[in-house]
Symmetry: C2
Subunit: 547 residues, 2 copies
Amino acid sequence: MADRRRLLSEWIQAVGMRSLRKTVLLAIVASVVLVVALLHSWPTRAYTTVDVWQRPGPAVERHLEERFPEPDHRSANIPYRVKESIAGLLARNGCVCEGESGGMNLPFAQLLFPRVSAHPMHTAFEASELEEMKKRRAKEYQGFQMRSQTPADMLIVAEANNPLQYPTQGMEVRPLKTILIPGLAVQDHPKELYIVNFTSTLGTLNVAAEVEGVKVKGDGEMHMTLTSSMLSNLNRQLQFVTYTNTLFHPSTADTVQFETEGHQAMFTIKVRHGVTPKLYNTGPKGEYNISALVTIATKTFMRYDKLQGLIDSVRKYYSTVTIVIADDSENPKTVSGPYIEHYIMPFGKGWFAGRNLAVSQVTTKYVLWVDDDFIFTANTKLEKLVDVLERTTLDLVGGAVREATGYTATYRQTISIEPGEEEGDCLHMRRGFHHIIQGFPNCVVTEGVINFFLARTDKIQQVGFDPRLARVAHLEFFIDGLGSLHVGSCDDVIVNHATKIKLPWVSQSESDKTYAKFRYPPASSDATHTKNGLLYFKNRFQCLTHN
Amino acid sequence: MADRRRLLSEWIQAVGMRSLRKTVLLAIVASVVLVVALLHSWPTRAYTTVDVWQRPGPAVERHLEERFPEPDHRSANIPYRVKESIAGLLARNGCVCEGESGGMNLPFAQLLFPRVSAHPMHTAFEASELEEMKKRRAKEYQGFQMRSQTPADMLIVAEANNPLQYPTQGMEVRPLKTILIPGLAVQDHPKELYIVNFTSTLGTLNVAAEVEGVKVKGDGEMHMTLTSSMLSNLNRQLQFVTYTNTLFHPSTADTVQFETEGHQAMFTIKVRHGVTPKLYNTGPKGEYNISALVTIATKTFMRYDKLQGLIDSVRKYYSTVTIVIADDSENPKTVSGPYIEHYIMPFGKGWFAGRNLAVSQVTTKYVLWVDDDFIFTANTKLEKLVDVLERTTLDLVGGAVREATGYTATYRQTISIEPGEEEGDCLHMRRGFHHIIQGFPNCVVTEGVINFFLARTDKIQQVGFDPRLARVAHLEFFIDGLGSLHVGSCDDVIVNHATKIKLPWVSQSESDKTYAKFRYPPASSDATHTKNGLLYFKNRFQCLTHN
């Protein structure tokens, strides 16, 4: 019994010891892990807050060019004579919705002498909803302005006889990074002490090297002062001044004040991520490999016969070019074949929705837009269009469309916007173009072209086709592209248009009848999704004039 | 007989006369029409040619900030001491592809102390094709630079002690329009004769009014001179100087030289169409009308069970919000219901192609991206995300995704690009964010977020999801958005993730198996369409570092 008791107590002791050691070991390991985890998650940096609320900033003086500057006391008495031919070109305060009046009322007058007509956009809305629409549009526009304006748009005037030398353009720093500020110097008359200071708002100032004989105060802060009794030492120090962005923003600008006694200067440093390129693989060198460079895009609706006609004609000349087809027909049929991509949409989703879908799927450098009732011929040389885009800075180049009658159209349109006030801007469209392109005598630059064009895929995807435009629309794409797209038009690349003329002895096919029914439907119930409603609300136009 | 002959001859005469008159009349009308048509088509303006060829322009000094400026003779002997903490922040000549070395090799080390690893991108290509790819990329990049750089990027330094006063920033004119140049003046010492001149390259100079005592020469040309013996008269005249753009370009800048004896200045006038707003109708005032403001977008592939789970969960909380579904499954099933838009794509077209398709169809102000295996809960309050975008300048705000285990992730990533030389740039991604957003304590600003986010439709369509990315990809969208998208992330709006964990007692469903087969396929044959191949070629990166 005693043996058993002794053995038992020895056993308990042994187990106890092991447990004790184990517990101690476990405790040590646990605390090490805890401490390590704590150290790791310990906030190693204090995060500052940033204010990104939509607040109205300093009012940007937009209408400088519209008013003659008020004379000050010195010039009040100096006589001048207005030069009407030039003064008349300056933008007015707001734009007026008027076309050309008068003119002959002969037959063919509109054809031979197209008059400009003006169309107010607010008529898209019932009188009862117009006031509400105006308010909503103004609110949305205000948000848009607050998001798109930066201090880099502000007017800055360099004062005369400023001993300060400084950079006025070209400085850029990536967010939270540091740059040397170039071109700083002081050319002052001899003094006992030279003092200059800098003030910034979205970052801090510093020096990358310390020059003998110059006292630096406030380095690493938003206000820095440099003092020296020797001008050349101060100027050497100024060559080492740095700016570091500390308040993050992906695309903005910091305005830096640079002062010395009695004089000041202001300059801007853009703060932004660089523009990341979006390059496309072009295939092997040599001749233009159309299959590697171009994708054909189209939208179809209830006319598979025309679509098949297009595909067959394309394949005669380009057997391996990918064709992307957006299809919102009611009972979609299968469209298949090598290098055919067929996309099925909800029934009647819409024209621009389909266009946007088609271009969203393109993976080649260029995309060729065609309507589903075009026919390729021997004159439809895509290589010519590719050549234009490969060698110029154009983003889009249109071709020509030949009707059954032989009449060939390029549908060139110039588009300009005249800024307006609260009522909105005025949109002006005129047939024609601006210049002929040097080296391409059959090509011109303009803003809008016919619906047969080759475009850079990244640019056309960036502009996009607004899916709110369900039915008839064309120039809206070019309006959305103003400022982004460099547009050209060549009349020597021609595609045929399967006939639209209702010849009396040809009975309309079933698909033609259904197509006609949808193609020209009654006005939509959502007023802001009509052509004029969108021009009014989305683009903030009050008026459209065209000839 | 004679009567008949007489009648006949009278008849012939009458017909002849009528024919003659008719012929004469027709001839007159025809010639009038011809003359009128000729007059109409007569070139009423001589079209000038424009040079839009891709030519390398003046080399933009990109790497100013990288080198310390060379001292001139005056400062060569002035001693200075480099401040390493600041000098080290300046961009180097090119970037180097290196991560963090060393560190403990304990278990959980990578978890507790995530080390930065560096990955060269050229490995996407076989050694045999790399040289060709480099050349092609360099050629495409050159074209991109020529299209995207403008004289407005050029460094300009204002000289000190210049008697000329002039605007250095903020001037803009629409293509082919005219503006008054503000802020021009001369503050010179007394002289017998004051002469100033202007030179421009993309337009002409003129005066909107003629001031007494000032002689104007070259008005309407690209070089204009103003001369006067009275300084105040000259300054009054300078208030009427105009610039007219004559060489059309949708977005460029003209550099104007402004000179007087012994001094010169340079300033830029931006020539471009204004930024056309793209506003969205928001629905009636009051509470956020989620159906009017938000469209839910997703892409699905071979897992209709998960998709239906998503739709059912959405409908519990938002019964009328439109859900757009891009579907590239092999044998697509019908997915229908009120406010459901189902788009069918070619089989396996790809992940980003589907994402691009879905967002291309959105017609509301905001789009909410969700994966097809998310589940909405009571914590998935879209109103909170809308509130952030309505009140801040953010373009996109991410939420949080909760796994079955309860672990919730926001996947915040900061992204920055360090410019490189011919080898390409370096892409740096780090977990984390930049600042907390004032007023939204649960939200921060960063560059990349998890795949559950609300975004402004116009901005997300503008950036787009590159359809070249067929399989696994995520941050590539945010890389493409750098500089365009202002990105935030809030951790208090949470969506659940249907479980991905392979629990041993749960057998994988058929659709799960097929999904797994495609979701992680072998590498594609087109090297530039792989993730690294695209980063190398499309975005011109040499290296990616991340932790």
